[in-house]
Symmetry: C2
DNA sequence: CCATGTGAATACTTTCACAGCC
DNA sequence: GGCTGTGAAAGTATTCACATGG
């Protein structure tokens, strides 16, 4: 809906990194971590871009929003750049999340290995089902839904994850907001309404597959039209992530 | 990397729906289904847009790429529009997917209720671990990784889902491509390289949380700068999905 | 009248191409 | 010489505002 971005902070500091760039910084971070593990100390934008799966120019433009952390004629110091991006992304601290809904998806998320190394810590699990409350999932005791307020304030939780069925999503979002959460990741296939100032990101598993199905369909029909019309140039479509 | 889009098909048919629009059509479809279930027969762009969580103008523009399926002064016929979008998205047929990797995430995906009503059918499960092969997950027997070719061709599978750990992702992608798959949804936190003509979409759970953490951090620092400098206008930032 | 459908305006993103600096 | 950092250009996406037609 509405996106207001300050290009300049109140104090006059130039900020306001474009959304598209913010979404890629974690990818660069991961690529840099991989390089660091291989013992690579320095790299050029080409190499890093290749690792990250993006165009080198885009990588450089993205990094330019953070500052000038490279050396002309040389490249980037892996460790230094890694630190700068991590700092920008707020990864110098750990972020505690609460997962609401401990079904298949919620359980899988709570067991996900990739979070800890990215500054994400699953601090609490919550479920509305009394049958699940009290059970231990991934080493965490599941708490009842109405303890959200206490959990959030006591454990300094700043991010909520909705992993419930769709019908419960809006109520859970309301409760998260009431508990003071201002960032929500929603896996439920439902649109949740939140007050201004609260960020919601949505991950919808079927939608991703539906988008792929759409492209499959187009490929298929392009093929048939190509065979029926020998002179037609078929469309090649590549969307690399 | 490279995105080539044909705005016009070989036969001259006007096509080439923008990517951003394609990504939203499933959302509209879901909203329409919800309305249909409530017994709503007709709706205006405002209502549908509200349900879908988008701007009405954007909705109308999106729909205009499909054709003129509304009635001026009235709105859209729910069932008719639903069918038109479904057809455009290739949802008049079912799409079979194979999930590679039956760990926590793969299991959760195979049990996911939301797929069947969206034209997605989990047709096969595959894992490299001999311990898992032969076990039954969500009613499907897990097959060994090297039977991919047979599975894909015999069951007409067109979409592959990678739900393995990161190090295995590239090899799995290669095998999927070798088996004839041209659409891949990758949940592994790794960039996979694929040949031209293969679509890859990536869902990265930690990245979504890292993006939220970034915004949290900005909110926090905006707050502190606001308290330290009473006259400064703080930035309000809302990104609704 | 009223809500759609759409040109035109605006905003954002990507890519190019080269000046600038090591 | 070579690679970064960045203006400028090209390509997409969103939003506005109103002509259009039921």
């Amino acid at each position: 809906m509405t996106i207001l971005r300050s290009t300049r902070l109140a104090d006059g500091t130039a900020r306001g990194i474009p959304d598209a760039t913010v979404a890629r910084l974690p990818v660069y971070l991961r690529a840099l971590n991989a390089l660091a593990e291989q013992g690579v100390l320095s790299c050029a934008s080409n190499e890093l871009a290749e690792q990250a799966g993006v165009n080198p120019a885009k990588l450089r433009k993205d990094l330019s929003y953070l500052g000038s952390y490279g050396t002309r004629g040389v490249g980037y110091d892996v460790e230094y750049l890694r630190y700068q991006i991590a700092r920008e992304m707020g990864q110098t601290q750990d972020w505690d999340v609460v997962i609401v809904g401990v079904g298949n998806l919620g359980s899988a998320l709570s067991a996900y290995q990739g979070f800890s190394t990215r500054g994400i810590r699953v601090a609490a699990l919550v479920d509305a089902d009394p049958q699940r409350v009290g059970t231990v999932v991934s080493g965490i005791v599941v708490s009842p839904l109405d303890t959200l307020d206490t959990l959030v304030s006591e454990r300094q939780i700043s991010i909520g994850v909705i992993a419930t069925p769709a019908p419960a999503a809006q109520e859970v979002a309301d409760r998260l907001v009431a508990a003071g959460i201002t960032s929500i990741l929603n896996f439920a296939p439902a649109i949740v309404q939140v007050p201004e100032g609260v960020d919601v990101r949505k991950v919808d598993l079927s939608i991703e597959l539906q988008i792929l199905a759409y492209h499959e369909q187009r490929k298929a029909s392009a093929d048939t039209s190509a065979t029926s019309k020998a002179t037609s140039k078929t469309t090649s479509k590549v969307v690399s992530a």
